[in-house]
């Protein structure tokens, strides 16, 4: 099917609802589970694809989600509803079974991402303009709280690195104020805020380990990470993996590294360096740097295969046609390949038999067999970026 026909089919679904034929000319089945569904962002056209992961098929294209550059998605606990956070401040609740938009609000002028509470009740958006976080009811997207991010410097800040923590809590970093905040909504919609100041210059992104223990914010204004041990009675911020640029020229970064989906392998965390063509291995038991592994270029995503043995890495412009595979056990790059122009994101199937790779400038998503590292299928997508499988509903962190 050519693209025009495909687009037209997608539109008809959006208008007419789930009973109509879906994007690929097939019904979006009314009776099915959602555990092998995925949502893929088409950043330039404000649309998303609902995909059947097992069948390697697009079920529907849903349009009208606004500016989806740098968009991200989280899933409710039933794995039926996706919440898509757009650049333009749009928050869209997508019904993955009916293949339609359930509800959409414009909640800010400029946004960066979001998270969902452990009980699935609260959707939280992280915003650039105005900075801060906002909390929404997961059912109807009604606004429940707005927490501005005014740092100790008195200035409003962009918020980055928002993650959920157990007990209706959320952690995030203040890019313009060098702070990390934890907002606790367990007692109601006026959160108890814990603030850490002087965490390091320009925290650009953050994530939390799957045990909700280690929150790490990558720093852009210095070479290192701000670490908070959330299991401590009185958590405090320490710098870890500091000084990796010492004595070396900081190389230009044409795309900021991302910590979403980061590479956790047992007690080792694989992190992108900022300004070196390397990945950095952090030992989570000692919180010391274990190794620096030279890589193809400036890393963007370091994504662990679900079993943790391998971490697959993509890279910044102008070297973004390449993916490398790091064997964390032997600490060697064991495979380097070129999926195509502008590899933006990677997503493993929940148990890691496949990895889906968005190749933006080829307008396709490539599906690789992880064991043989060979391409087994592809699906078409217009400028695809983020790939999100519903199994994320049951994972902590971003």
């Amino acid at each position: 099917m050519n693209r025009r026909a495909f687009l037209t089919a997608g539109v008809s679904v959006g208008l007419a609802g789930p009973a109509m034929a879906a994007g690929a000319g097939e019904a979006c089945a009314p009776m099915r589970g959602t555990g092998d569904l995925g949502l893929i962002i088409e950043r330039a056209t404000g649309s998303v694809l609902i995909v059947d992961v097992g069948a390697h098929k697009t079920l529907s294209r849903i349009e009208g989600l606004g500016d989806l550059s740098h968009a991200t998605a989280v899933f409710g606990p039933s794995e039926r509803y996706a919440y898509v956070f757009g650049r333009d401040g749009g928050l869209t609740k997508v019904d993955m079974l009916a293949c339609r938009i359930e509800k959409r609000v414009i909640q800010a002028g400029n946004a960066i991402g979001g998270a969902i509470s452990d009980d699935g009740a609260l959707i939280v958006a992280s915003n650039y303009t105005p900075g801060g976080i906002k909390v929404f009811d997961a059912n109807d997207l009604g606004e429940l709280a707005s927490v501005p991010a005014i740092g100790a410097n008195g200035k409003p800040s962009k918020t980055v690195g928002l993650v959920d923590l157990p007990g209706r809590r959320f952690a995030y970093a203040l890019y313009d104020a060098d702070e990390i905040w934890i907002a606790d909504f367990s007692a109601g919609m006026s959160p108890a805020l814990t603030k850490f100041t002087n965490v390091g210059r320009l925290p650009y992104d953050a994530n939390v380990t799957s045990d909700a223990r280690h929150y790490l914010a990558g720093l852009f204004g210095e070479d290192g990470f701000a670490h908070v041990d959330l299991w401590a009675d009185k958590p405090e911020v320490t710098r870890v993996v500091s000084g990796y640029n010492a004595g070396r020229e900081k190389l230009p970064i044409y795309k900021m590294p991302h910590l979403e989906g980061w590479g956790q392998s047992g007690s080792t965390l694989v992190l992108p360096a900022a300004g070196q063509h390397e990945v950095l291995l952090l030992n989570l038991e000692t919180m010391r740097e274990e190794a620096r592994i030279p890589a193809h270029s400036q890393p963007v995503f370091c994504v662990a295969r679900p079993d943790g043995r391998e971490v697959w890495i993509n890279f910044a412009h102008p070297h973004n046609n390449t993916v490398q595979v790091l064997d964390v056990f032997t600490r060697k790059i064991v495979h380097t390949f070129q999926p195509g122009p502008a590899v933006l994101h990677l997503e493993f199937t929940p148990r890691g038999h496949e990895v889906w790779i968005s190749v933006r400038d080829a307008d396709r998503i490539d599906i690789y067999d992880v064991r043989t590292r060979t391409k087994k299928a592809e699906i078409a997508g217009v400028k695809p970026s983020g790939i999100f499988f519903t199994a994320r509903a049951h994972r902590l962190g971003a």
């Binding site: 330039a44 740098h70 650049r87 333009d88 303009t129 980055v160 650009y204 900021m256």
Partner: protein, 106 residues
């Protein structure tokens, strides 16, 4: 298609005027994609800003094209704005700067 041709023509004229360089329409398309897609990863695909500053004409009214071209080529130390020299030529940077000020092509 007509739009693409219009851009290509505009590019040809501007680059001849501004930089004296002969810049084919293909390069204009490449630069347009570069700005929207790759600059867009920080500045937003619509250029309304993100981690990086907004780059719409109203935001750039106080800045002249040469200083914008210099920022593109040499970056802004202490911020994430990297130097693009080596990836874009001076004529490219000038073309991008002038088109940002005018309202960047889609």
């Amino acid at each position: 298609m007509a739009r693409r041709l219009e851009i290509a023509l505009a590019v040809g004229i501007v680059s001849l005027m501004a930089a004296g360089a002969s810049q084919a329409g293909d390069r204009a398309a490449e630069l347009t994609a570069l700005v929207r897609e790759d600059c867009g990863s920080c500045h937003g695909m619509t250029l309304k800003g993100g981690l990086g500053a907004p780059l719409l004409p109203a935001d750039l009214a106080e800045k002249d094209a040469s200083s914008l071209a210099a920022i593109i080529l040499d970056g802004v130390p202490g911020t994430p704005m990297p130097p693009w020299r080596g990836l874009v030529s001076e004529a490219d940077a000038r073309w991008i700067a002038e088109h940002l000020k005018q309202g960047f092509p889609q």
